[in-house]
């Protein structure tokens, strides 16, 4: 057996060969580049997000405005769904087969995005906001749906429906946002507008994580005990809004049947007390499963209920602007309280005529505010920009523009809302484009009475009232007063910087005297005033090339130590005193005498029940 005996070498050779080949293969798997360990961990651990409650939002007096509600979502591992009992799923969710396919595809898109976003977790939202019945059925049957699990998160409920544009609504985080901050995952709800959006980072709280073991069928097999994998969520801190719940509701009531805005600000702080638009929408329809459907419907609505006209709508300020013109003229030294100009039912200059309503005799400055004389301000305007000290109308106008900008006009006031319009204060260049190079003061004379190229948002008009009340300064208006327990105090730094106009405070007295006459006999808003409250106001009528003029009114009260500044704009309301003035004055009364019955029940009744087509 000599030959056979030699053959043992072949056997031992084979054994060595297999050992070497298998060791090399093991090395290539275990010491190679493929992140098998991560894949294994990803297989076995499911990091379930614990969604925090968003901040409760309170009004300035501590009344709850927005709060969080618990909701349940069905989440899934959309790429691991191997044997899906579609019949069961369909019957629980009460949907049909094509919808299930659609949902799976949607979930896969979300999971893809989530993985792209540095996450090894490939689970994603499948079906949001389960009804009670769906939730109960799913909880009983979830073991029959491998690859699915129930997640809880929070949604919103609004205690007041009067402030949708200020508070804002939530929506599913879009891709750009997800990539931007790395915090949100597809399917997460984030603030889209309003306070919800602007303070998203503070309001959303901090997500927690519960890590569970899961087996091959993606069935939960207990919580991972290692504490590094588990931490609770932290609810968003209480947010104290500057809004006044009751005033807000009242204002919304007064605006019924009318298009327009009400903005009220506490002059000494810049805190927005009321922020109302009509048309608006019921924010409680923008929650839950109906959110997307409601949103689409609102978007299509030609009443534009989503349009936040208080900060986005721009209007010629009309006669309310005369107060500003007068201040600038005094600052420029071309007007004194004693200056008088005749009227004669209008201002004529060559072929140009600016009409005025009938009033008797020449007026001084105080009277010109009370009566709102157009001729007076045409003259004042010409005096400013044709001032011999400048020698050129354009230099004169540039000086005027600079003063106007110091009122925060023509730029954003930096309220804590996104999408605020700048309005428009025309520059010399803009006037050149519009009127050609060789314009004169008479060419742009309509600017004198707040018409023409000058455009303001209702918020900016209100802010002019704030400046009047403060005699020359303001804080950037803001809707949030305080964020409780939020350590980073830098969020409100910009709301603590006092901004001064270029007008000497002493010039305000005469204008304010004039404004205090407006609601008195002989004033343009006579009869709308409130007993015991000295309201300083200015009416305005903005010419509207598309229809009936807009009714505008700005005011503050009381005259000394003002507590509230307000601007009201009623579209197509005609004369300022007709609609805007009574609304604003009722608001002032409501705010300064909370809880009391109105002293003008007839006026209130008329406003509440009127509809402007």
């Amino acid at each position: 057996m000599e030959k056979g005996s030699k053959r043992q070498v072949v056997y031992i050779g084979l054994i060595v060969f297999v050992f070497i080949v298998y060791s090399l293969k093991l090395a290539s798997i275990q010491l190679g580049e493929v992140p098998y360990k991560k894949m294994a961990i990803n297989n076995a651990l499911n990091k379930i997000t614990l969604y925090p409650s968003r901040s409760n939002i309170f009004d300035r007096k501590g009344k709850l405005m927005v709060y969080s509600t618990q909701m349940y979502d069905l989440s899934s591992f959309p790429y691991e769904i191997m044997k899906l009992d579609t019949g069961l799923l369909c019957s629980i969710l009460e949907i049909d087969l094509p919808t299930v396919r659609h949902l799976i595809l949607d979930a896969r898109i979300r999971a893809k995005k989530r993985q792209k976003n540095n996450s090894f977790n490939n689970s994603a939202l499948f079906y949001a906001n389960l009804s009670n019945k769906q939730f109960t059925l799913l909880r009983e049957n979830i073991y029959r749906l491998p690859g699915f699990y129930i997640e809880s998160r929070t949604d919103r409920q609004f205690a007041t429906t009067s402030a949708p544009h200020a508070l804002g609504y939530l929506g599913e985080a879009d891709e750009s946002l997800i990539e931007l901050d790395g915090y949100n995952q597809p399917g997460d709800l984030v603030g889209i507008t309003g306070i919800e959006r602007f303070y998203e980072k503070q309001i959303r709280g901090i997500k927690g994580v519960k890590t569970v073991w899961q087996d091959r069928t993606y069935t939960e097999r207990g919580v991972v005990k290692d504490t590094q994998f588990n931490y609770p969520s932290t609810a968003g801190p209480d947010v104290i809004s500057s809004l006044d719940f009751d005033l807000q509701e009242y204002g919304r009531l007064l605006l019924n049947g009318k298009k327009g805005s009400i903005v009220a600000i506490e002059p000494t702080t810049g805190e927005v007390i009321a922020f109302i638009n009509n048309p608006d929408y019921d924010p409680n329809t923008m929650v839950g499963r109906e959110r997307a459907k409601t949103f689409k419907a609102l978007l299509r609505d030609d009443q534009k209920p989503l349009y936040n006209r208080a900060v986005k709508g721009v209007y010629p300020p009309g006669s309310t602007f005369k107060t500003v013109m007068a201040l600038i003229a005094m600052q420029e030294g071309v007007l004194t309280p004693e200056t008088t100009h005749g009227c004669g039912g209008g201002y004529r200059l060559g072929s140009i005529r600016v009409g005025c309503h009938a009033h008797g005799g020449p007026l001084d400055l105080r009277g010109s505010i009370r009566i709102s004389c157009n001729s007076y301000y045409c003259q004042v305007f010409r005096d400013i920009i044709d001032n011999p000290k400048y020698g050129d109308v354009k230099i004169g106008y540039a000086a005027l523009e600079k003063h106007l900008r110091s009122f925060g006009l023509g730029s954003q006031l930096n309220i804590d809302l996104l999408g605020e319009s700048r309005g428009n204060i025309p520059s010399v260049a803009q006037l050149n484009r519009r009127h050609g190079d060789r314009w004169k003061s008479s060419t742009v004379i309509s600017l004198s009475i707040g018409q023409g190229e000058i455009l303001l948002t209702p918020l900016q008009i209100c802010n002019v009232a704030v400046i009047m009340a403060n005699r020359g300064w303001y804080y950037a208006p803001h809707l949030v007063k305080k964020i409780d327990g939020f350590n980073d105090t830098s969020w409100d730094r910009k709301y603590r910087i006092k901004k001064f106009t270029s007008i000497n405070p002493t010039y305000f007295a005469t204008i304010i005297d004039g404004m205090s006459d407006v609601t008195k006999p002989g004033g343009t808003a006579n009869g709308t005033g409130i007993n015991d409250i000295e309201i300083c106001a200015k009416t305005g009528t903005a010419q509207n090339p598309h229809g009936k003029d807009h009714s505008i009114y700005m005011a503050f009260a009381p005259k000394d130590n003002p507590k509230i500044a307000i601007a009201v704009l009623v579209e197509n309301g005609g004369f300022g005193a007709t609609w805007a003035a009574p609304i604003a004055n009722l608001m002032i009364e409501k705010y300064l005498k909370p809880g009391a019955e109105t002293s003008k029940p007839a006026m209130e009744e008329r406003i509440k029940t009127s509809v402007i087509k």
Partner: protein
């Protein structure tokens, strides 16, 4: 010691190294099973029901070991054919009385316990083959003798194929390797490897759509060149021509079988192993998860009882056929190669022991043991790391299961007992 049969002066000492390696392997097996079937988050080391069962099987094999060690070798020789016949009968009986487990009818069920007669058929066949070749005057020569040898192991193989347990049946092919030691010409095995190579080439061409004419062209070209150089020796050039023609014929047959006879799922399985197809959801899921498990071990492993891939069931059959994944995941590259080294050490030791036998019976039995273990090892581990198609056979001494453990213990210790009394 004085009265122990092991101390009998007519006997050598039993091979301690083999027993040591056997004990190490069984312990590794038990620990792996215990880990693979443990619960996550368990605070205390507690045994799973499956681990306890394995402990009982181990207890049983201890009884088997002592029974063998204390019995007379003559008894082993005397009962060999009877044992073989009994094993064949059991394997036939299981076709009628057995319980179907995942498509194969190869288990007897007694309450919660299953017995797989095919496991015992391996040792019975090895003993019968050894006895036949060890019979005075019989050598692996002559058509009749060769036919009887082939019959001895192809019969159980055929029966087990009928049981639809392909994996266990294929194990019997390892007896061809045994026969090589007994004089089976090497060219037959080389031919087998050559034919396998041809088959793989043809399958690759079928599966990828590369024209099979390249294969014919190469055969023709290389054959012609070789014939040209050997043109002076008529015998060799004729032989080369014959080989080329046979190869071409085989190449054609494989093509036909592959494309028209094999079922699609069988084709899928083959293509998956050949790396022609990647399918992470369906068939490939098991292989992918097995690789993730082993790969997750990295150099030093994730630690004992910390292998999530195996205990969470991502790896299929994690305590039986895929038990090696637990070793790879929890003990890493270092542990896995040390394990391979231990197993290969045992195999080498058995080959050396087999070679030192003075009887043909002992030698054939030893080589059978080495070859069957070698086949199991390379197929089982090759399957978990993706070198071999998924064929469900256990890893001897390691995988959970009484039949496999008992049969291999019986096999190993019968041989060691025979080795002990070698003259």
């Amino acid at each position: 010691m004085k009265y122990s049969p092991l101390n009998n002066n007519t006997q050598e000492k039993i091979d301690g190294l083999s027993i040591f390696l056997f004990i190490v392997l069984v312990i590794i097996g038990f620990l792996s099973i215990s880990s693979a079937t443990s619960e996550v988050n368990q605070e205390f080391y507690s045994l799973s029901p499956i681990a306890i069962k394995q402990l009982i099987w181990i207890g049983g094999s201890v009884v088997i070991i002592f029974t063998i060690l204390y019995s007379n070798v003559v008894v082993i020789d005397y009962f060999t054919y009877g044992f073989y016949a009994f094993a064949i009968l059991l394997n036939i009986a299981v076709l009628f009385l057995g319980r179907e487990v995942s498509g194969a009818k190869s288990w007897f069920g007694f309450g919660g316990i299953g017995i797989q007669p095919s496991e015992f058929a391996k040792v019975a066949t090895a003993m019968a083959l050894a006895k036949y070749l060890g019979t005075y005057g019989i050598r692996f020569q002559g058509a009749r003798n060769i036919a009887i040898c082939l019959f001895i192991f192809l019969l159980p193989m055929a029966i087990i194929l009928i049981q639809n347990d392909t994996g266990s049946a294929l194990v019997f092919l390892s007896f061809f390797l045994v026969l090589y030691r007994e004089g089976l010409p090497g060219f037959i095995l080389i031919s087998a490897v050559w034919l396998m190579f041809l088959a793989i080439c043809r399958i690759v061409s079928e599966a990828t759509g590369i024209s099979s004419y390249y294969g014919y062209g190469l055969l023709l070209g290389i054959g012609s060149i070789m014939v040209f150089f050997a043109r002076k020796d008529k015998g060799i050039s004729t032989l080369i021509t014959v080989i080329a023609v046979v190869s071409a014929a085989f190449y054609t047959i494989v093509g036909t079988v592959y494309s028209s006879i094999l079922q699609p799922y069988q084709r899928d399985r083959i293509e998956l192993v050949l790396g022609l197809k990647s399918d992470d959801r369906g068939l490939g899921f098991n292989l992918r998860q097995s690789k993730i498990a082993i790969g997750a071990g990295e150099l030093w492993g994730r630690g004992y009882l910390k292998g999530t891939q195996t205990k969470m069931g991502f790896v299929p059959e994690q305590h039986t056929d895929f038990i090696f994944d637990t070793i790879g995941e929890e003990w890493g590259f270092v542990g896995a190669t040390v394990f391979l080294l231990i197993f290969c050490g045992l195999l080498t030791r058995i080959v050396i022991l087999a070679e030192r036998q003075s009887t043909t019976f002992g030698r054939v039995l030893g080589y059978s043991l080495a070859c069957v273990l070698f086949f199991h090892l390379s197929i089982n581990i090759g399957m978990t790391i993706g070198l071999v198609p998924t064929i469900g056979i256990p890893l001897p001494f390691i995988s959970f299961g009484g039949s496999s453990l008992w049969a291999f213990t019986l096999f190993l210790f019968t041989f060691l007992r025979v080795d002990q009394v070698r003259k």
